[in-house]
């Protein structure tokens, strides 16, 4: 592909078309770009709600003893933080926002295969969100986001609402996944071969398969818990012949693949950003594409590593331990390929690239600490300590969260046609990165020394770690507020904040950067003819061969 822009026909863009930015038209739109923006608003709002809950927990843990949240209140805040962050933020974040916005454009389509179903997925999301909030109004839930039986079956708290919420949100992600798979197969430009798809498309494609195949299992599991509550069918109730451990298996059969639903899209974003800001063809395209599929496949077979201490045959534990070690291989393949891509590239330090660096650093720490837990003997020592909390925040927040913000900075100019203030963005990034490590790294050490997770109180000897961690939470929150302020500011106060974005500010080669910023409602009037890979940049001094830099890709 070249980096040349498609002809701008001067059409009105998707934001101003059809009633403009704040009209009710949006609620019945089937335009994938508008649906993406509607997801964006909801998801960012919920992120800040859950972040506030996290700050409350950290503030409570500043000192030993009870400050302002007693044990019961702390459990409710903890559950809500987990449910919102996982179900309403991380899982839908990149696939629903950037998958919806960029994937159809990247494959040369004007929309997804089932636009009305796409809108329906958004309404499923909203319905799930309403139920989740309703459960707060109904007194909150104290089970933790995993809803483990027998406690979730016995507690007086209203677990029905959040479980129904999780069920609906699951359907939202299944339907989005179904749409993405079909779009890639059916609406990809006829001249775009599988090996010419941008790696972001590969990542979302693999993610969608996991979402479609794994989510129904947790759906039915939660339904079975509800059957126990309403009808007294004790499938997981030991006093009625059931087995609570079976619940854990069925829960993690989905929820472990779900962590790959969360992280694969983030890796997919890194695979877009690294070559663009190195202006160099991606190293090992096929390995990155196949490693996404490998992660999706092996990642479906490692669920029981969440249950090493729950009671399981030794043979089972050894097999799951081995598979857990094994699943780290394709992730490492990706990291090495990104590093090799940067080697001898012309690297530009822009905000998306900084977040990609942060991803590689933070996710590697998260990944290595994951391997420590995969080792059975070590896991028994660190199970249920704050080491685990630090580990999954490094992978989920340091991985997916970081790339969510990276993707915001990367696609923002395309989505809204506005470029943010880069200096302010850099300050925000430094606060984010420093704050992140200050917040979570001490929890590794405290955990190794025996600090249990989910505790509202602790012994005085852990105070130093907790204090440091709480200070970190204030730093990272400041960084994130700056980030959002910057993005809103460049839209709201356009005269003196930021600038108008060009069609291709990053000199990227994928199709999304060749349509106007922001794109018109129908981005393609002609079939885009793909003659080359998505990372072949027109850079004469890097010795691009002339035949590849054909002047007009799009035949009139």
């Amino acid at each position: 592909m070249t980096t040349q822009a498609l002809p701008d026909l001067g059409e009105v863009d998707y934001i101003r078309a059809g009633g403009g930015p704040w009209s009710w038209e949006w609620l019945k739109t089937t335009d994938h770009k508008r649906i993406a923006i509607m997801y964006l608003l909801m998801i960012v709002a919920f992120f800040f709600v859950a972040m506030t809950l996290g700050l409350l927990m950290r503030a409570e843990l500043l000192k030993p003893g009870t400050q302002f949240l007693d044990g019961a209140a702390y459990n409710r805040v903890l559950t809500l933080h987990g449910v919102i962050m996982i179900c309403l933020f991380i899982i839908p974040s990149i696939p629903a926002i950037f998958g919806n916005f960029a994937l159809p454009i990247m494959v040369g389509a004007n929309d997804v295969s089932f636009p009305r179903l796409n809108l329906a997925s958004w309404y499923f999301y909203v319905a799930g969100a309403v139920l989740a909030l309703w459960s707060v109004g109904a007194g909150g839930v104290d089970t933790g986001w995993t809803f483990y039986v027998p406690y979730s079956g016995n507690t007086d708290a209203n677990v029905v609402l959040p479980m129904l919420a999780a069920f609906l949100l699951g359907w939202s992600s299944i339907l989005t996944g179904l749409n993405m798979i079909t779009t890639v197969h059916r609406l990809r430009a006829p001249t775009m071969g599988w090996r010419q798809m941008p790696l972001f498309v590969w990542g979302i494609y693999a993610t969608s398969w996991i979402a479609v195949l794994a989510t129904p299992v947790v759906g039915i599991t939660l339904v079975l818990v509800l059957f126990e509550k309403f009808f007294g069918v004790g499938i997981f109730n030991a006093s009625m012949g059931g087995d609570p451990i079976l619940f854990q298996h069925m829960f993690w059969i989905y929820s472990h693949p779900a962590v790959y639903i969360m992280v694969l899209p983030a890796m997919a974003v890194v695979s877009e950003i690294v070559p663009v800001f190195s202006q160099k063809r991606i190293f090992g395209y096929r390995f990155i594409a196949v490693s996404s599929i490998a992660i999706a496949a092996i990642g479906s077979l490692v669920w029981a590593h969440h249950m090493f201490t729950s009671g399981m045959a030794d043979e089972g534990r050894i097999i799951f331990s081995f598979l857990t070690f094994f699943v780290s291989v394709p992730s490492a393949v990706k990291i090495f390929n990104w590093l090799a891509t940067m080697y001898k590239g012309s690297i530009r330090i822009e905000l998306p690239m900084l977040f990609a660096f942060a991803f590689m650093f933070l996710f590697s720490i998260g990944g290595f600490t994951g391997l420590q837990q995969a080792a059975l003997s070590v896991d028994i020592h660190i199970h249920d300590t704050s080491f685990i909390v630090a580990h999954f925040h490094y992978t989920m927040f340091g991985g997916t969260g970081t790339m969510f913000f990276g993707a915001l900075y990367y696609w923002w100019p395309k989505m809204f046609g506005r470029m943010y203030n880069k200096t302010l963005g850099m300050i925000g990034f430094v606060l984010f990165f420093v704050g992140f490590n200050t917040l979570y790294f001490p929890l590794f050490i405290a955990g190794l020394k025996g600090m249990p997770r989910r505790y509202q109180d602790y012994l005085a000897e852990y105070q130093g770690y907790h204090e440091l961690s709480t200070y970190g939470s204030w730093i990272i929150a400041t960084g994130l507020i700056l980030l959002v302020l910057n993005l809103i500011g460049c839209m709201r106060w356009a005269k003196w904040w930021g600038s108008d974005a060009e069609t291709n500010p990053w000199n990227a080669a994928s199709l999304d950067w060749r349509v106007p910023s922001p794109p018109p409602v129908h981005q393609f009037h002609e079939e885009p003819i793909i003659t080359d890979g998505p990372y072949d940049y027109d850079i004469p001094h890097l010795g691009d061969d002339d035949s590849k830099a054909a002047p007009a890709e799009v035949q009139a």
């Binding site: 997804v112 179903l117 609406l187 129904p216 009625m240 012949g241 129908h522 009139a556």
Partner: protein
Amino acid sequence: MSNAAAHDDHHAHYGVPGYDPVAWKMGMWLFLFTELLLFGAVFIAYAVYLETYTWHFTVGSAQLSIPIGTFNTLVLLTSSLTMALSIAALQRGKKELSIKLLDMTVACAGLFCVVKAFEWGAKFEHGIYPGSEHLLAMARGEQMFFGLYFTMTGIHALHVIIGAALILWVRARIKSGAVSTERITFLDNIGLYWHLVDLIWIFLFPLIYLVA
């Protein structure tokens, strides 16, 4: 520019999702995968407890009526046949026949549900229903068997009802001409769903009725 605009009009529908039978079928198959995995999870639970409580499952299963189960199996198999014939009829342009065959399919679905309701009702009369004192007094393995019996046949019956509703919907669309010989994919997809509902029963029947 005007030239280009005229050209654009010609290609105005490039890349816009329209009637694409392959995409619709693909979407339907993906949805069917989710259904299979949903039931698959319950089948796993069944397998685990069959292994744990083999004897009690035999005792529980012996209390179910094999003739009734067999009759319902035949009813569902017949409904799958009429569904397939209905699609074949519409493919050949025989709209009236297609609608008639759909009516027969819905009738079979109704018959299945009525028989199922009587079967459940008979169990209820014997005091066997989830949470009943009689059931709680039984051995744990038998409680689990009947728990799974009501759960699995209940979720399946719900699918039969949803399937029947979908058939009535596609029937209305055939009548209005929205689904026709040329645009038959919607009927095809409902047919796929119906065969899945049938197929799941084919697995449920031996697991629940014949395991004794």
